[in-house]
């Protein structure tokens, strides 16, 4: 199948799954959300104690294992790489999660919120596009986290094994894990369905390389609309399915797990846009890459888990009441930190390139 068709198919499945999982029990306009679900996992293992958002989401397990299996079945796809600025990636993963939780959702939930009629997500969309645009400029100016090196295949098996561990924890349900009794964390579709849908999307996302940040970046950078078509497919099919299932509630107020602090919706997703481009992919893409052997993405994912934990431990995350002082301060602090990081990275990279050129020409 042609690559652009695989992308559209993936978008159709994500769009339908987003609406259906919500209908089957997932939280409102949260059929799928990588930020929310990793945040719930962080809570599920007790890294934060926000009682309403603790669960071990099997969609996540499915994404990882689906990507792992498909990458191993297709020649050349499974490849273990690591060593490209690991701690910077951890930090960027954490920042990406903090920004997403100020807004209340990853870019795909942002799209699903819009598809459910939640217009409060519009300012988030603008913030996301602005962040992607700015960081794409950084890339053009020479931003790079450096090269990864290829490692033996077995080094990539540990992360999927951790995913199997999460699966077992959820199924065995020992008394020491945390499962919300109320709030979004307590709403979930039947477990086997979440796992199967996760596996399906994990496999498709591995093949299609679908990515919310890449969708906008490719349009800006190379006028390539392939990934963007995937995003449009999600919006069209999620909106259609939401209308058919009676879940489409258009409006600016009273939206579920959302707030109306438009500036902070914008800035939260601005942080997500910048970090997703710096990392080379949105939260879903990082999770899929982590499954197919990219250890740098594993590090970014654990940065996201860490970011989720401090978001709730320090009261940074948004809530239906809006974004509190701590969340606002963290967002501004992160934007400043990201600008400094970009500036240092770009100047150092360009200095290195200039030195190498000088050495090359003096050796002639």
């Amino acid at each position: 199948m042609k690559q652009s068709r695989v992308i559209i198919l993936t978008g159709v499945v994500i769009g339908l799954a987003g609406a259906l999982l919500m209908w089957l029990g997932n939280p409102a306009n949260m059929g799928l959300c990588l930020a929310c679900f990793w945040r719930d996992v962080a809570g599920g293992i007790g890294l934060h104690r926000a009682g309403v958002v603790q669960n071990i989401r099997l969609e996540i397990v499915g994404f990882i294992l689906g990507a792992f299996v498909i990458a191993n079945l297709v020649k050349g796809e499974y490849k273990v790489q690591s060593g490209s600025s690991p701690f910077t990636r951890f930090f960027l993963g954490a920042a990406m999660m903090i920004g997403a939780l100020v807004f209340l959702g990853c870019p795909w939930r942002m799209v699903l919120r819009l598809s459910g009629g939640d217009w409060t997500a519009i300012s988030g969309l603008f913030g996301f596009i602005a962040g992607v645009y700015l960081a794409t400029e950084f890339l053009k100016k020479g931003f790079s986290l450096g090269r990864a090196s290829t490692e033996r295949d077995t080094k990539g098996y540990l992360f999927p094994a951790v995913a199997v561990g999460l699966l077992l924890l959820r199924l065995i349900n020992p008394e020491f894990i945390f499962l919300s009794e109320s709030g979004p964390g307590s709403h979930f579709a039947p477990l086997w369905i979440t796992l199967v849908v996760g596996l399906l999307i994990g496999g498709l996302a591995q093949r299609s390389r679908i990515c919310s940040a890449g969708a906008i970046r490719d349009v800006i950078l190379v006028r390539d609309f392939d990934l963007f078509k995937g995003m449009i497919a999600i919006i069209v099919f999620a909106t259609g399915a939401n209308i058919a299932l009676g879940q489409f509630n258009p409006g600016f107020t009273g939206q579920a797990v959302a707030h109306t602090d438009y500036l902070w919706n914008f800035l939260g997703m601005f942080v997500v846009g910048i970090t997703a481009i710096m990392l080379g992919g949105c939260p879903l893409r990082q999770t899929i890459l982590a499954g197919e052997g990219n250890i740098d993405s594993v590090i970014a994912v654990f940065g996201m888990v860490f970011g989720a934990a401090i978001s709730h431990n320090f009261g940074l995350a948004g809530s239906p009441d809006g974004v509190g002082f701590n969340g606002r301060a963290a967002t501004i602090g992160l934007i400043i930190a990201l600008l400094i990081l970009a500036w240092v990275n770009i100047t150092q990279n360009n200095k290195e390139i200039a030195t190498r050129r000088r050495e090359a020409s003096s050796n002639v």
Partner: protein, 69 residues
Amino acid sequence: MSKKLIDTSGLSCPQPVLLVKQAVEAGNKDLDIIVDTEVARENVGKYLKKAGLEYREEEDGRQYHLLTE
């Protein structure tokens, strides 16, 4: 004239495409591009086609050379 070598191995998306794009826009059309992931192979290939450059692939262990002509 020898080919200009662009080694994109180990770089994350979209740097492989970006490096090739910057080289092409600077007037270098005779390129030897090393890619070491399927994603980079697809994306660089797609960009070269779009830029109207013919290329052939040579497999080299676990990486590929995309050679424009």
